[in-house]
Symmetry: C2
Subunit: 473 residues, 2 copies
């Protein structure tokens, strides 16, 4: 009995109650959304029994973010990878995808599922490929065996590239970067070599039955996602999307939950149309997009190029955003990259939730505005998406100012011992400058140019004038 089947039967499950609380929605609304396929709760029964905290993915829920992690044959230490996973969850990842390749995949995955209470996704093709000497030897039984094994381990959703068909392959000839999905390209190679249809497509009904038994959710993989702006919104991409729509219906008939994976690299002007098209072709099944990256010339900054695209995508209907780290296109992310990637995507998700006017979405921002106006630095740090980074930069700027003062004979240096211990800039600066301790300002503008302080002054003046009418009145 999957969440979908129970929702259709009118049953509000305990998991629906939990996500309703998290989303500030009525449990009955959650049930209806799940029954209609517009929302999923990716919650494998095995993972639930191990302490999974269920979440909802769908248009009515807040925007979710996913962090891709995993070791590779060339790099990665399992203990360090678990550290990255904990870091991702700390900085807001709602789900984790294990994209590990190499040996010992089962051990690492089991440790991951035991370690985190967020849903875990996987791409079965990677393990299928690792367990064979040559991917061309892959049989339907290999596919079913690996998917069943991973379902048993407690994987909550699986990305499988079922919708890339033989007739789509010639459509990539006009592309600059061909097929950039790893799973998609390996599947296509198998199809070309055997002159046969996509084996995952052929096994679709049997796969559905495995997914159903554990309530693993589908993430229908987009093997044909564009790998550069030039290739965006092309025939190959949209032909596959149309098959994804067909498979969405078939998966629903089996009672399995479905979300759809999306691009990738898309220019800003095409993102809204991509979202509308997916909703239409796939009957509003939740859309899970990778970025999208909105320009191709910024390696080292693709967490930013893609956070821009992700915000626009979420504002136009995407339900989950797969993070991109600063190392994208260059190498595997380290701990710091994972942190920066997660925070960048929390920004995208949160900005979209505010713009979509989700209940209470802006409350934390308004609190921050009040803390800024009150010069309450500790509260500002506490409200920040990354409190440690905000604090670090605040003190770094103070230290920089001090260093520069040391080089300038015309400025008196701040006492270094006062630097690290001072929680409130306003008080500290006032003390250091010999000003009255009730003066409020920060290092950015200094007391003379602090706009908020000046505003406070002029409000006091206005009040005074109201109480004591001026001579002119």
């Amino acid at each position: 009995m999957t969440q979908l089947i129970q929702a259709r039967n009118g049953v509000v499950t305990p998991e629906m109650v939990i996500v309703a609380q998290k989303e500030k929605l009525d449990p009955e609304v959650v049930r209806q959304e799940i029954a209609a396929g517009r929302m999923i709760i990716p919650a494998n029964k095995v993972h639930l029994s191990k302490g999974l905290s269920p979440i909802a993915i769908g248009k009515m829920a807040t925007t979710k973010i996913n962090a891709n992690l995993g070791v590779s044959a060339l790099a990665g230490d399992p203990d360090r990878e678990l550290e990255k996973i904990r870091c991702a969850v700390k900085y807001g990842a709602d789900t984790i995808m294990d994209l590990s390749t190499g040996d010992d995949l089962d051990l690492l995955r089991t440790r991951m599922i035991d370690a985190v209470s967020v849903p875990v996704g996987v791409v079965p093709m990677y393990q299928i490929c690792e367990e064979l000497d040559d991917i061309l030897d892959m049989t339907k039984q290999n596919i079913l065996d690996v998917v069943e094994k991973q379902a048993k381990q407690g994987v909550d959703y699986m990305t499988i590239h079922c919708a890339l068909l033989q007739r789509h392959i010639p459509l990539v000839d006009s592309r600059l970067t061909g097929i950039v999905s790893r799973g998609g390209s390996l599947t296509a190679k198998w199809m070309v070599a055997h002159n046969a249809e996509n084996p995952f497509y052929e096994a679709f009904d049997e796969l559905c039955e495995i997914m159903k038994a554990y309530d693993v959710s589908w993430s229908l993989g987009d093997g044909m996602r564009p790998g550069c702006l030039h290739d965006a919104s092309d025939q190959a991409q949209f032909a596959e999307l149309s098959v994804m729509g067909e498979l969405t219906k078939r998966a629903w008939e089996h009672g399995t939950q479905v979300m759809i994976e999306g691009p990738g690299h898309v220019p800003v002007d095409q993102i809204a149309d991509n979202m509308r098209r997916q909703a239409k072709e796939c009957f509003e099944a939740p859309f899970y997009v990778l970025g999208p990256v909105v320009c191709d010339v910024a390696p080292g900054y693709d967490h930013i190029t893609s956070a821009i695209g992700a915000t626009i995508a979420a504002f136009n209907g995407a339900a989950m955003l797969c993070y991109v780290t600063p190392k994208e296109h260059l190498g595997l992310p380290n701990l710091e990259d994972v942190r920066v990637g997660c925070v960048s995507y929390k920004i995208a998700a949160h900005a979209a939730d505010i713009a979509l006017k989700r209940p209470g979405a802006r409350e934390r921002d308004d609190e921050m505005a009040r803390a800024r106006y009150a010069f309450d630095w500790e509260k500002q740090f506490a409200l920040a998406l990354d409190p440690e980074r905000a604090r670090e930069y605040y003190y770094q700027a103070r230290q920089d100012a001090n260093d520069e003062k040391a080089q300038r004979s015309d400025l008196a240096q701040l006492s270094p011992k006062e630097l690290p211990a001072v929680p409130n800039c306003a008080r500290a600066q006032a003390l250091e400058n010999g000003d009255a301790p009730n003066e409020d300002f920060c290092t950015m503008c200094g007391p003379k140019f602090c706009a908020m302080r000046t505003t406070a002054d002029l409000i006091r003046l206005r009040k005074l004038q109201e109480e004591q009418p001026s001579d002119g009145n």
Copy 2:
């Protein structure tokens, strides 16, 4: 004779010819756009004589970015600040605003104008304030004197908060963060204390005559820009915008060039409307926006929160984007912050130019896609907006992989001496792994999971099949 007056007289100036070449536009189109007030060339005659390279700001031109710099009374060393300015120009700043406060403002500004060939902007209020013991002592003559002095120094555009009127001040009572513009708040304080109208508004015609004499462009400052999402698109902001429209017409009557300064902090769903409203109220005078920041809870990451807003703003008509650095809301930016701020904003500007289908905007991106597909790492670095960062991260990922291998007995370590010298990942990896040297892949996926390599394989397979029809056919 300003660019505007000459354009109206049908004269195509040498500066118009230069920007036409830069923008791939017909010089006559540039003249028409300037004559209509939809485009400006901020080029003080003094700075032109010192080697300014003119640029165009307007809807028909590519999106420009500005970097705010300057020392403050509490921090900043002039030599270090000039280093930051050179860094900003290196990473793509089209203009520099000198927001210095403290002593020696004339010396630093003159050095800046001599040092850079990009337009320099300034906020005269800061120097007015520094030259007085109390801003409340400010007279009309102080204003005219400082503006004339700065115009003589060669400043190309000036941000002056002329449009914040007495009747607007009570409108901030419902705000969370009051007036966050430094110039705006000081002006408002003066107005309240003297119960008098904005002295910059009162001196507007005389200011126009000074600007006209040197061809200094107006940047009509938005003293009422919102300082948080809560305050966005409120009465105070739009009341001031309406006065900006009135002043735009008056400035044009004097023959001076005008752009309009805009917000600030704006939720994603309100940005397009803000752009449309400015175009309408200000007769399509170029819009120069600060960010906007799209969420308030990410101090330390406001280059990202604002690059999102800036991209959407530029796509909807903003002509210039004022950068925001990672230190925004926390302190003054250091060299690294300036670099990251500039690259983030080049991304925003470039993504918008691509989306607006400006001629040739995507060429560099397509070149990057080709370089990626060809595994040409040196070319990828060369095409990157920040080549040094891309190279650094590429080798950092390789080093991380090596470090992890050192901790895993099951993986052979790469020879460290090979690491720094290897320009092409594919060749390097192949050599290290003992594979054939013509194998192409990178550290991210390794040879077995490289999608681009797999695509190349399957294309070879398809060609082979076409040449030798299979048995089945």
